[in-house]
Assembly symmetry: C2
Homo-oligomer: 278 residues x 2
């Protein structure tokens, strides 16, 4: 049996039994690998770190899309920063949005995902509402004149190419790109193991936006309990559960993690996370 051991943390590891290496290569930015695992289906790995798997991608992708979309209730234009595997794009396009711009820095991740992870991106890349821009997301929000109702930051961790997506200037530029009533959501790591990163993200979002906070969801292959999803905006996501519930019911999406109860419950933060942002 061949195993892949993730190298994200020095002293704790998750490992997956591998049936086959489907793709292995190097882009301008990072090592890109797709494994066929025994129990988690196909898995995308960048620089040794698990990004998504067919088996559990739904937790992360549903929570980073449907929660803010149903909270807002009238999103027409969405900007995705990162998200090269197309999982976020596919979930966003389940809503009656007019236009989705996805800005991914690494064309290789898109190309490999379209070829090897079709169950994650579905036919999202062919949707006429979607435009894919291969560019630096931080530069894009600094320069674009477009405005969006929702910005979703689906980045890798704040080391390497994604570091700039966790800084105040990036959040300020995102704010500039938001329509009134808009919001942004960002993956903020696993606070049980990456507590400093969560604290920094919260402080910066709260400095830039009138409303900011976290909601949480445990993604099995993001090791260590809850993942923190940071949010900031002109809309109070935390107070959105009652407004979202009838929208969720009316949409009738067939989902595997998110529902109206989860929408409300996800804003209940454990004390160890409250202590980081108190």
């Amino acid at each position: 049996m061949t195993w892949f051991a993730e190298t994200l943390y020095p002293n704790v590891r998750q490992s997956f039994a591998i049936e086959q290496v489907l793709y292995q290569g190097r882009s301008d930015f990072q090592d890109v690998t797709v494994f066929k695992t025994k129990d988690f289906g196909r898995m995308l790995v960048l620089d040794g770190v698990v990004q998504t798997t067919e088996r559990d991608e739904f937790v992360y992708h549903e929570m980073l899309t449907h929660l803010p979309l149903f909270a807002h209730g009238g999103v027409r234009r969405v900007l995705i920063i990162g998200g090269g595997d197309g999982g976020i794009l596919e979930e966003v396009l389940k809503h009656p949005v007019e236009r989705v711009v996805m800005v991914e820095i690494d064309a290789k991740v898109i190309e490999v995902s379209r070829e090897w992870l079709p169950t994650i991106c579905g036919r999202a890349f062919e949707d006429p509402r979607a435009e894919v821009v291969v560019a630096d997301g931080a530069e894009f929000v600094a320069e674009t004149t477009e405005r969006f109702d929702l910005i979703i930051v689906d980045s890798s961790d704040p080391i390497g190419p994604a570091e700039i997506l966790f800084a105040v200037p990036f959040y300020e530029n995102c704010r500039r790109c938001l329509n009134p009533g808009g919001a942004m959501v960002v993956q903020s790591g696993v606070p049980f193991l990456q507590g400093e990163e969560a604290a920094n993200t919260y402080r910066r979002l709260a400095q830039v936006y009138p409303h900011a906070g976290f909601y949480v969801a445990p993604v099995p292959t993001y090791y260590g309990g809850f993942m923190a999803l940071g949010w900031g905006g002109f809309l109070d996501l935390k107070a959105s559960a009652a407004a979202a519930a009838p929208r969720i019911a009316a949409a009738g999406l067939a989902l595997h993690y998110y529902n109206a109860a989860i929408h409300a419950g996800a804003f209940a933060l454990p004390e160890y996370l409250n202590a980081r942002i108190g």
Copy 2:
């Protein structure tokens, strides 16, 4: 660097860098090991499966005790089945209970925990309100004439010595041992990876009690996202958040996971778990 790799699942593993093996032995029931890990403090392992660590034990122990205790509001007598490491006992004794009986089948687990895991059990075993019985928990509830307000089942997984604690006759005997208004809570595994076990537990609890369900919490070293905590009783735990909130505030315990928001939010189940119990 020495690593310990958990052997719970055939195709996915968590591994921990080890500084030292503090204890290794075999009881009448199982292999018992205590490691000093690099990042999770001391760790108790039974038959190759992680039971608890100093670093993350608070998630599991707080959620299996404070939630039902504050939901009930007047618990005087508690029965713990299993829980040989003393972590549940210590948390229960933070409440003004009169008597706690802990029935653990494996004396070696108690002995090893008292010697090597003092930060988990604290001084709970010396508390005059606590009585420790070394016996089979299933036999105990079949025979005792004592009555309890709360029964907490802190067992290992339903293979090996704990199998009998997941069967209908055990739940029926627990019901017989409950005072009016009482409830029981049981660890029910990680449903993302052990979905069949969660489904069975729910079906059996719902067959025995007027109220039954799950609440959830992600324990970092119980790999795979949410752990499901099953409950059944004469009290509707799911409807208890409003009553619990002032009790939580009045008690003023210094905790690391549980709080009033978590109490309410923990009953929000992801769709993949709802699908198992629907």
